[in-house]
Symmetry: C2
């Protein structure tokens, strides 16, 4: 492209003009506090974005978390290093307090590199790109070799019945490409990974292969957690790349296929770890907490850059930016870096329980755990009554967020903050652009280089803007608790 | 992340539910044609997206254009191959006609790899990552060595005056990082590249270094066109990477810096090339043309994947999808693959002139030339009166586009379609997410791998949806020309 004036919707949108506009609007309407408040809000949100894009620290923080520490599965030395790094970093921000909240976490280890091989087929023998699923038991030292049965869903298992006995079940239902939001496609496929192993074991399967939970076709396997059902035999389960799933499915159409699987993953004893917490205490209503968080742990492959290094550094950035701008919050702004979101949610659960024990009240909680892509806005949920009462109060903020391409709509909050639902907290999920997330999710490809600096910073600015609006205006109908 | 239900705003948004909703809404309101039309529109737009995401061809087409053909600067053999490929591909779509429109284009060649070196400085000698600017003259065989003067803008040139004589001027004004839209930041910096060389030459500069037009800091130089002013001496100009610009600026703070530049780029004779055009003739109002286009040429580095391979394949995809869905347009839908957007705009100008000669009327034109990222919507412009009359007619379409994250707002159309402004065409610029565009723009890094399949396909679906709405409803007030 050549002529920028023909290409941008904002080339006539100059910072100076806007500044002058604010001044003139606020002097014209200076007697109307409502309008004035809105102009001040717009000005402060602009200021947040300026600070994030020019003085943000989240990108170098992410570099450290991914390149110096790397993958940080619960119980690993890297997870411990991430706790220490989170604590030290929050410690540099001049907060009112920074502390660790102990939590016992599962300690699963992958062991040696998985061997997954088509042992006999129309094509002969083929090595597959595979990763054991998190929490999976390993095979025996000799591995497992058995014939493969392909299924799309649990109904197929029922229909096949005893034909499954002694076989390896291959779950091969792909993402629905027509879902505009890839998280909806993930939601429509992930029961194969989470519950597939136990469902197949009920019918006597000896192991499970799962098509990777991915939006794209490539050679990269995606790990992720499985949940064994109590009382059902625990059988080994591995994910294979989407290309390999296509290959295997093609071979099965030509005749019987035998696969060999050898894994040495296993679950060890629970280990002590921590949620990392830091806060700025509110000056007027310190008992009303606004939480912002992400999760420190990741899977043991790649660098956990989008999942959820991005959410961790954005959450710390919120406090950093507010301090940088000398903003004194009315309410308590708390950053929580949760441990063990990936394979247990122990950190989120412990945090919820502790809040209950202490009688803490969380007015709102915002989780960033959908990657570090360009922000599109927030989804919001909560207890039915809370949602019905408070969602409409967010409407006036939409105009303030629109210049940054941000929307607020009904939808999920986040796994770590979900235990707060019962204390009538309004739960927000930060929503970045979702298109590329499941190309990287839970893989060796989830590395620092896939995160764009501006996109990450804009996300931090979006979350900070929402925290600011909640802090300033509260979540009560006018006159019912807003500070004056 | 673990629990998808907590994470997506659309996990409760099932295709089946929507389908049932349409059926029930359309039976409830079947007597009200207005509502019914909207439901049909929503349904068709959903259908367009399904087709793009499951049967789209734009991604393999882009693979061919970038990997088989590669960079395709006007006048190069690759540009000729791209013309042939565009014609052949359009030829497979069952269109009513496909033709080539001849146009003479500039033929600039880079010559040997540039040498740009800090020859003397506090740090000694350092090679810089550089690319000659497009259309630039080369240096003599011996190169140019001179002291460097850093400036931020043309006022600085005026203030320095005769101090510039015999020097190399270094334009080093960076992008304004606080611009949310990177195209606005580009617009605020690009006069250094476009006009800087002639402005500096007026004061006796012997050559120009320009900080690359980039959002990020890295080692990749960005080329791009310069325009020499008539009557001013043509001096050589090169872009250096943003990291090298920072380095050079730092060294200049420590004392005098001498730089050596050697380039062998030059402008050859104009060459015959072509715009590639294909169309589906309208069944009711064939004389009203809706144009969709991108530009076939690129710079001579990288693969021209985002700029503008994406726009080319998306424009062809519009016709492909409409044919695939057996859509019979009322109006003529024309795909134009323009030649020479990058260093002359000859294709766009010739197309405009030819349209005038033939007395053709373009109701609307949509250009895709801002990369193949996730679609955010469209910017729209036009002759003042046309815009004032027609922009409000787009409002009812916003609700139809919103589920796909698409907005329509005032802003630029596109360089190639800009000559149509005078024939009262409403000009649309497709607007994808802009954050990463200027990491790749005009560089060796603008390659196929940086384009995501879903993002590209969603862009094609967005443009097809807009073409459909314009075709179906026209751009006249109700009852004033809409077809019945």
């Amino acid at each position: 492209m050549q002529n920028p004036a023909c290409k941008t919707g904002e080339c006539f949108f100059h910072r100076t003009t806007i500044f002058i506009l604010f001044l003139s609007v606020s002097s014209t309407f200076s007697l109307f506090s409502q309008s004035k408040a809105t102009d001040e809000d717009a000005f402060f949100i602009r200021h947040i974005h300026d600070a994030a894009l020019t003085q943000g620290q989240c990108y170098p923080w992410l570099h450290h978390l991914t390149k110096e520490i790397g993958a940080r599965l619960s119980g690993s030395p890297q997870a411990a290093a991430a706790v220490e790094y989170g604590k030290q970093t929050l410690g540099t921000l001049g907060l009112d307090s920074v502390w660790l909240q102990p939590v016992m976490v599962p300690h699963w280890v992958r062991g040696e590199k998985e061997v997954v091989r088509i042992a006999a087929s129309a094509m002969g023998s083929v090595e597959l790109n595979a990763l054991a699923l998190g929490n999976s038991v390993g095979t025996s030292k000799n591995g497992i070799a058995a014939q493969v049965v392909e299924v799309q869903n649990f109904d197929d298992l029922k229909n096949l019945g005893s034909a499954i006995e002694g076989k390896i079940v291959f779950f091969n239902r792909p993402f629905d490409a027509t879902q505009i939001n890839t998280f909806a496609a993930y939601g429509g496929a992930v029961n194969q990974r989470g519950n597939g192993p136990s469902e197949a074991a009920k019918y006597g399967a000896v192991a499970v292969l799962v098509r990777s939970m991915a939006s794209n076709l490539d050679d990269i396997p995606h790990t992720g957690g499985l949940r064994y059902k109590e009382g059902v035999e625990k059988i080994p389960a591995v994910a294979i790349s989407t290309n390999d799933a296509e290959l295997l499915s093609g071979l099965l159409k030509q005749g019987a296929v035998k696969v060999f699987i050898k894994t040495s993953c296993r679950m060890l004893e629970d280990k002590l770890s921590y949620n990392v917490i830091g806060e700025i205490r509110g000056s007027e209503k310190p008992e009303e907490i606004i939480l912002v968080g992400g999760h420190l742990d990741s899977w043991d492959v790649g660098e956990g850059a989008h999942d959820d290094g991005a959410g961790v550094v954005q959450s710390m950035e919120v406090l950093h930016l507010l301090k940088k701008m000398d903003y004194r919050p009315k309410r308590t702004i708390r950053c929580v870096l949760f441990m063990n979101e990936e394979n247990g949610l122990r950190g989120g659960r412990e945090y919820g329980k502790e809040a209950e024990r202490k009688g803490e009240f969380h007015l709102a909680a915002i989780e960033s755990d959908r990657g570090g892509f360009t922000p599109r806005g927030f989804t919001v949920t909560g207890d039915k009554e809370v949602f019905a009462a408070k969602f409409p109060l967010l409407r006036p903020w939409l105009d303030l967020l629109e210049p940054y391409g941000l929307r607020i709509k009904k939808g999920g909050g986040g796994a770590d903050i979900s235990p707060l639902k019962k204390q009538k907290t309004l739960l927000f999920g930060f929503e970045p652009d979702p298109q590329r997330y499941f190309n990287y999710h839970h893989t060796n490809a989830d590395v620092f280089e896939t995160v764009d600096k501006r996109e990450l910073e804009l996300g931090a600015a979006a979350i900070t803007s929402l925290v600011f609006l909640i802090d300033k205006h509260g979540l009560e109908k006018e006159g019912k608790g807003g500070s004056h």
